[in-house]
Every structure is written in structure tokens, then in C-alpha cells.
């Protein structure tokens, strides 16, 4: 409409700062500075590593959620799925009994496979049932949650073999060259996620699907497969998160993973991924997950606000993040 007919110069894209992509990282820096001003203990290596380690579960799950959301979907079942996967994994380990690496490996395989299967179920119902993902995952959220309660008979599922627990402990508490294992795990997951989303045709198809399903379909994108796979990736991410969650407490309860779906979605949105799809930011998501944990940490270290209000502050953050996104979008 208001195009000027200037020919494009062949010069490569000019370097321009995309505020929307940068804002989660700026927020992270601002929070870190605020934390340092509030409490000198904040900027110690141990505290920082602790915060990042604690954010690992949500970060890993949120990397999966980045795929689902940027593909135009939504998965509310991740928290319940996490609980179910944790429960079944522990039951499997208890059932196998013999302490050993092979037992652990088998348990881990079961966890990741179950996560993938749960994701596949979500994906197939959304895709072939043609039902809103909000409704489908609301349903499976209830199903997964009550399955774990049923498996635990309302109580707690605990790893019985203490030798196995000792063997498994380092996966959460250990470190490699000073870096805690959970941090390595989530950096690796995020790196693989970024590679898939940004560099493969599958990733491109996810973004196309999230931008406009019709255009994707008319362009020959296998939308059913792509959409289902985003949920499978989400499930696998839940499985991986559980691999490092189980050694932390060694048990699963009916409240395991409660409200994780909200934290994961919050991390994704803070990170700059569009909730309506079509734009995914894996590293932004990682920053978002760390921000959530950082806020909780600062609240614990300071006396301004009761730490019982962490949830309220995190809730406020998602709303503020959306407002910031909206205003940045308008500025473009």
C-alpha cells in the first residue's frame, strides 16, 4: 500500500537490535543487579549456581513448551505428566530392585519413553480429534494427575533401595568441572532445542504452523505430523526433567509438579515466544525460567515481601511480560 519502489541493495541485513528478543536477558541482568544491591550474599557463586540449578526442571520443560506454543498449541498437562513419569520411574526402579547402572539406565529409558508416550497421546488427540489443545491437555492433566494419585494410593512413592539412591544422587547433586549436572543438562537440552527449532526444516515447519495453519497446509507442510511431534518433544522434555528431579527427593507425591505448567508457560512467555504461535525463542525461555527462580530467590534473601507470596509475584511477572511484549510490538 505504502510501498516505495526502492530496489533493494544487495547489502546484507543491517544490524538492528530486536528489543523483543533482548528484553528477557535485560530483565535477567536488571534482576541480578537488584539482587546484588538487596543482599550481598546474592552474587556469590554458590547462590547463583543454586538458583540456576533449581530452575533446571522448569527450564527443560519450558524448552519443550516453546515448541508446542510456537507451533500454535498449548500443553497444560506437563505438571501432572511430570508427576506421573516420576511415579512410574520410581516404581520401575523399585520393581527392578538390583542397584546398578543398568537398572538406572532402564528406569531412565522408561521415564523418557513414558513422557514421549504421554506427549504422543496429547498430540494425537489434538491433531486427529481436532479438539482445542487447551481442552485436550486440561483433560489429560486430570488423567495423569489422578493416575499418579492412584499409583501412590494417595500417599508417596519412594525409592526403596538406598544403594540405588546413592548411585543416582550425583545426577542432581553432582557436578562436572564445578558445574552442577542439572545446569549442564538444561544447557544441552536448550542447545539441542535451539538447533532443532532454528536450523532444521522441522523447526521451520513448527513456526509456519504457528504463524498460520492454513498457509502451512497450502504450502504442503505435513501439519499433522509436525503438530503431533511438538507434543512428543514436550513429553520427552518432561521425561528428561524428571531424570534430574527424582534423585533430588527420591520420591513422587500427588503434589509433585503442581503448577509446573503455569511456570513453564510463564517462562516461555517471559522469554519472548508469542503465545499465539509463530515465534519461538528457546534461549529466551531459558532466561525466563531463570528469572522465575531468581525472583523467588531474591524474595527469600530480602525482607520486603513474604516469600509465601512468590506465586503472586510470578503471576504478576507474566502479566507484566505480556504488557512489555505488547508495547514493544506496537513500537515496531
Amino acid at each position: 500500500m505504502t510501498e516505495t519502489a526502492l530496489r533493494t541493495d544487495a547489502s546484507r541485513r543491517k544490524f538492528s537490535l530486536d528489543m523483543r528478543a533482548l528484553s528477557p536477558f535485560l530483565a535477567l541482568i536488571v534482576l541480578a543487579i537488584a539482587g546484588a544491591l538487596i543482599n550481598p550474599d546474592f552474587l556469590t557463586a554458590s547462590n547463583i549456581l543454586n538458583v540456576v540449578t533449581r530452575s533446571a526442571f522448569i527450564a527443560i520443560i519450558a524448552v519443550g513448551a516453546t515448541f508446542v506454543i510456537s507451533g500454535g498449541g498449548l500443553d497444560l498437562s506437563v505438571g501432572s505428566m511430570a508427576a506421573l513419569v516420576a511415579g512410574v520411574m520410581i516404581l520401575t526402579l523399585n520393581w527392578l530392585g538390583a542397584p546398578g547402572v543398568s537398572t538406572l539406565a532402564l528406569g531412565m529409558l522408561v521415564a523418557v519413553s513414558l513422557g514421549a508416550a504421554c506427549g504422543l497421546a496429547n498430540g494425537l488427540i489434538v491433531t486427529f480429534g481436532r479438539i482445542e489443545p487447551f481442552i485436550v491437555t486440561l483433560g489429560t492433566m486430570g488423567i495423569f494427575r489422578s493416575l499418579v494419585i492412584w499409583l501412590a494410593a494417595g500417599g508417596t512413592i519412594t525409592m526403596r533401595n538406598s544403594e540405588l539412591r546413592e548411585l543416582y544422587r550425583p545426577v542432581y547433586f553432582g557436578d562436572i568441572a564445578g558445574v552442577p549436572v542439572p545446569i549442564i543438562a538444561f544447557v544441552v537440552v536448550a542447545a539441542i532445542g535451539a538447533l532443532i527449532l532454528y536450523k532444521t526444516s522441522f523447526g521451520r515447519h513448527v513456526i509456519a504452523l504457528g504463524s498460520n495453519e492454513d498457509v502451512a497446509r497450502y504450502s504442503g507442510v505435513p501439519i499433522w505430523r509436525v503438530r503431533t511431534l511438538t507434543y512428543v518433544i514436550q513429553g520427552i522434555c518432561v521425561g528428561i526433567a524428571i531424570l534430574i528431579y527424582v534423585p533430588r527427593l527420591g520420591s513422587a507425591t500427588p503434589t509433585t509438579g503442581l503448577l509446573w505448567e503455569l511456570q513453564a508457560i510463564t517462562a516461555v512467555v517471559i522469554g519472548g515466544t508469542a503465545l499465539r504461535g509463530g515465534l519461538g525463542r528457546v534461549w529466551g525461555t531459558v532466561a525466563g525460567a531463570i528469572i522465575l527462580e531468581l525472583v523467588a530467590n531474591i524474595m527469600v534473601l530480602s525482607n520486603f515481601v513474604s516469600e509465601f507470596l512468590v506465586g503472586a509475584v510470578q503471576g504478576a511477572i507474566i502479566i507484566i511480560a505480556m504488557l512489555v511484549q505488547r508495547s514493544l510490538q506496537r513500537g515496531r
Binding site: L6, T8, V215, P222
Partner: protein, 506 residues
Amino acid sequence: MASVLRADHISKSFGPIEVLSGISLDLQAGEVHAVIGENGAGKSTLMRILSGHLTPTKGSLHLDGQPISFSGPVEAEGKGIVLVHQEILLAQDLTVAQNLFLGRELRRYGFVDDRAMRERTRAVLDELGVSIDPDRVVGRLSIADRQLVQIARALLVPHKVVAFDEPTAVLTPIEAESLFQIIRRLRSQGVAVLYISHRLNEVKVVADRVTVLRDGRLITTRDIEGLEPLEMARLMVGRDMSKLYPEKPATASDQTILTVRDMSVPGYVENASFKLRRGEILGFGGLIGAGRTELFEGLVGLRPSQGAVTLDGTKVHFSDAREAMAAGVVYLSEDRKGKGLLLQQNLRVNLTLAALEKFTRGSFIDVAGEERTLDEAIKDFDIRTRRRDLLAGQLSGGNQQKLLLAKMMLIEPRIVIIDEPTRGVDIGTKEQIYRFIASLAEQGRSVIVISSEMQELIGLCHRVVVMRNGQVAGEVEQADLSEDAIVYLATGVHEERAAEIAAGHV
């Protein structure tokens, strides 16, 4: 005649780019004033300034001789200047009456007064000479009726100036003729009508005066008398446009490449059969809603369909667009914004989306290769863009169409189905697209052009199949191509009678 709305040396800049410079326009009571120009000439910007959606950077507006500036469209509407938008902006799930009064509901004791609104709606529709039930849900009306509802909505407020932005883009000739009658009625009531259109034949029929814009400048304002469409086109483009259509390439062979027999798309098409030859440009004419789009969406697997399709002697059935593409059959949707391009993504992502496997090395996308291909496409298809990293949605209609063509050509198809190739496209780009379609045939590819513009079918195609009510009504050979022949098959009546039908029909 009295001047109602006058623009005095209006300029508008967006950042450093001036899209309008020094435009003066004098709109008089009881005239239909057409504004024509290529896409990007500044028509829409001018329209938006006149209707209060934009404020001019320089220059002034005068309403009834008094200088005026609008804070926004609401104030302009309050002053009697209404704009009928190009896109249909109605709530699909509300009724006609509810839509007409949306945001300005009549109330009684604090509750909406449905009865009064229904009565007013009926009165307004009657005034337009339209019979639409005020209680119909808008989503169940035809596109043409929705357009009429939109016009009725605009005319609900007291109006001195009514601006139409490409009102006939979605209308068939008969429906357009009824719209012209509405416009003439407005004129006879002393309303000043501003009319923006690409369709110069229409302008000739409906306008009293014509203002031509080119590259944001005023070229001329002339009386319609003695101004023929060809001359209008020349003024718009600044060069001779008598050769809008290229020579028809003599490439249509006897060799049949595609045979479709008894194709049915449930709810839209029944038992459609046709043949396509190698190197042929085959037109598909008919009214909107005749089932042309659905037939081809069914053919390429975008809708469920039954029927016998033979491609190069082999029976085929495509269950999705991917399969059709793999067989060398591509379909370019008429709905570029909704189904053709990802408006929120950049040109590169859009260009390679359908042929992405050509740009993958191992499992990864070869971005450098994509960039090279984008450079070539920008050159080959003359895609005009300020910057390479624009989003597809920021391109003009004509450039979006070129991008969509470039995207689908990456598949190297044998059969190209183009639905409304020049809808919303300016005349200069039209010529380029026509030449491109002819060159496809010269390369030995077969092209199917679905179009509601008769001239386009006649000027471009070797043969035209016409559909009516979901069935193939007949076929017109090259030697017999004429508007009347197509209209006759499309409507069952000859063209001279179309106006009469419109008069009685509406």
C-alpha cells in the same frame, strides 16, 4: 456545485518516506469522484486522511468551506464522513441488525432495544434497495450481502461524504451493478461519493470525475466524459497500456496432461470434468461461489473430494497439498493473506516454505542458499521491497503475489493453478503477472487461471471452462471467447440482461 470536502496541498510522510505530496482534491455534493492509481500511488493513504484515520503532515482539509482537522475516524464520522472498508469488518456470529448497531446499540431502560434496531436496520436496507433479513447471522450471508451490510452500517450515521475503498473486489458483475445503483442513489440524494478502484471499466460506468494519482503525486483530475479506460490506465502508469496482455503463446499442444472426470467436492462441486493440455493456459470462469476454488482445492487434496484424476496417463489421488506438489501440481490460493503467505514472517522464510527440502543439507537448513534464492527471486520476479528483511505482510498486494509465485515456482511444477492471479494487484504488476503466466506456457508448463475478471480470461487464456452452481456449465474455445459467452454460461443469461436482472434481483 458546492464543494463539500476539499483537500488543499495535502502531504503525508512516514518517517523519511513521503507517500503523498501536495495533493489537492475537491469533492462536490452529488458527484461520484473516483480516485485511481497503481498500488503504492497513495490512494489508500489519501482516503485514510480524508476519513480521519491519518493526519496529514502538510496541507489542510476543508469541510463545507471551513478548515478542519480530525482527531480520528470517530470525529470524521460525526462530521458525516464515512469510509466503507475494503475488507469485510463484521462480527460473523452476530445478526445483521446486531452488526449494524455494533458499538452504538440503541437502548431502552439500559437494555438493548432489539426491536427498534431491527426496524431501523430494515429501513436502512430498504433505502439501499436490498432485501436481507435483519435477523440473519452475518456468517451465513454471501460475501456480496456482507458487503452490502457493511455499506448499510456505514450509512447508518448521517453522511455527507461516503468513501468506498475497492468495493467491488469481491463482487460479481451483477452484484457490482447493484452496488452502482446504490451509489447512484446516494448521488441523487446529494451525497458526495469518493470511489477508489482498480477496475477502470467500473470507474467509467459509475464516476463523474476521476482523479489520477501516481507515485504519491496528483497527475490530473478530469471529467469522465471523453476519458476512456485505456487513457486512464495510461495516466496511471505513465505509459501506453494498450498491450496489457501478452501474445498468447502458440504452445498449447494436443497432448493431454491432466484429465479430471466426475470430480465432486461435497457441498460445492458435482461431477466436474475437464481436460488440460500441455503448454495450455486454461481459464476457469464463473461467479463467486460457483465452486471453482473448491474444485481445485479438492483436486490438490486440500479438501475431501471424489473423482477420477489422470495425470500423464496415470491415475492419481492427492490426499494433501504435499502429494500434489510432489507430482508437480501446485495451487496458488486466491486468499494470499490467509492461505498463501505467512504475513508475520520474512520474505526468505516465505519463499522457501513449500520447497524447504531443497534447502536442507543433512538435517539442517542452508540459510545462505535460501538467501541466494531470495536474491534471485527478487530479481526474476521484480519483487519491490524497501528492505530485504521486511515481513511478507508489509509488502503491497502485487509484490505479495509475486512472492507467492516465486515460492511456488521453486517446486518446479508442471501444472500451475492460479486462483485470482491479479486480485488486489495494480495494473503495472498485472501486466508483469500476465507475461509471467504466458512464459510458463512457453516453457511447456500448463496453467489453470481461475478468474472473476472476464477480460483477464479472454486476454490470457487459450480456452475457458465456465462453472455455474457447482457444475461445469460449458466451455468456450479461443475463437469464441467473449464476455457475453462467459457471462451466458456463468449466469444462464446474456450480459445485456444482467443489468436488468440486477435491477429486479436486488
